[in-house]
């Protein structure tokens, strides 16, 4: 067993350091942690409404999640309500909404959008405060791709989204190794 104590490990030439060979396990010691190795579920964010939002009938409307529970890399904009990851890769996104109404109507839809185009949709009747939750694994380029959430209702009149943080929320985190 050998022991090497250094402060900086750098390649003799080039810009790549290779650790281990195929079949090896590169293990951190008990209690040790690593950062910046790509092995973190970040960027990550979680947001909730900051106020009651009124949704006009038959109109796709960007959901205004204006309060951040956390935003590890400042990738969520509370002005545009967009998540623009600054690291490329795949992310797990989720959104949940609920209209503050016990009235029944036929059509609600929540969407996850990428750069303004639909990426995932979920539609449902509105029956007695029923909520909608939608999840999706998405691919982001880490520079310009942005994601937001929209909701639509066709009740025939304007309806309010619940401002309860337990009923309306959204978030995302980066997946590792994909």
């Amino acid at each position: 067993m050998s022991k090497l104590e250094v402060n900086t490990l750098a390649p003799q030439t080039g810009t790549t350091i290779t650790i281990g060979e195929s079949g090896d396990t590169v293990a951190l010691g008990s209690g040790a942690s690593q950062t910046g190795f790509g092995g973190t579920n970040t960027p990550a964010f979680a947001v909730v409404p900051s106020a009651v939002q009124t949704i006009s009938t038959s109109t796709d409307t960007v959901i205004q999640f204006g309060t951040e529970s956390y935003d590890t890399d400042s990738c969520y904009d509370t002005g545009t309500y967009r998540f623009t990851p600054n690291v490329s890769g795949k992310y797990f996104l989720y959104v949940k909404v609920r209209f503050d109404s016990d009235t029944d109507w036929d059509y609600n839809m929540v969407k996850i959008r990428k750069n303004g185009s639909d990426l995932a949709r979920l539609n449902s009747r509105n029956e007695f405060y029923e909520g909608l939750i939608l999840t999706k694994v998405i691919d982001a380029n880490g520079t310009t791709d942005y994601f937001d959430f929209t909701v639509r209702q066709e009740s025939g009149s304007s309806r309010n989204l619940s401002s309860d943080a337990a009923e309306c929320y959204a978030g995302a985190y980066k997946l590792i190794g994909l």
Partner: protein, 173 residues
């Protein structure tokens, strides 16, 4: 060859670029979404009375519980494991009548934290998925509720595929 490498920094000469772990090499000890926990309900469920929030206790043995954090039908954030977690859950309601409100709630330290409300019309399930920052000792439970006006109790959580609780820690978040 076995060995110990102690370094303060592993970096490239330029301070940027790539440090590569070759294909086929795995990295362990810190890069894992643990604690990681998953439990399902049994196929019997329980009788859910109208008008009262009832804690789900019909859980089976967890399929995995890396930190042994599950006890007394609740998941408790273990010592040294504070941080952000992803919580996903589903609850099944065995109800085929006209629509009425059913609700599954995730409670943290006894207070409602995440709510999923459905209008069950035919054996529907309420689902939830979200992330949250937890402190050591915070405990997470699932409660169910229904408000049928006829005060009838209905069976709930009797579908193992549609009644579950999943909790895992995010890395570095």
């Amino acid at each position: 060859m076995a060995g110990t490498l102690k370094v303060g920094t592993i970096t490239t000469p330029s301070g940027s670029g790539s440090i590569t772990i070759p294909s086929g090499v795995s990295l362990s000890g810190g890069v894992a979404n643990t604690p990681n926990f998953f439990v399902r309900s049994d196929t019997t469920g329980f009788s859910l009375s109208a008008g009262s929030h009832t804690k789900v206790t019909s859980w089976t043995t967890p399929e995995f519980d890396t930190a042994s954090a599950w006890s007394d039908n609740k998941f408790t954030i273990p010592s040294g494991q504070a941080g952000k977690y992803c919580v996903s859950a589903s609850a099944y309601f065995n109800y085929t009548g006209s629509a009425k409100r059913f609700q599954m709630s995730i409670r943290v330290n006894g207070s409602a934290d995440g709510l999923a409300t459905i209008s069950a019309t035919y054996n529907n399930s309420a689902k939830i998925s979200y992330t949250k920052e937890f402190s050591v000792g915070d405990y997470i439970e699932m409660y169910l509720y229904q408000d049928q006006v006829n005060s009838t109790a209905y069976t709930a959580a009797n579908n193992a595929e549609q009644t579950f609780l999943s909790i895992y820690k995010l890395i570095g978040a």
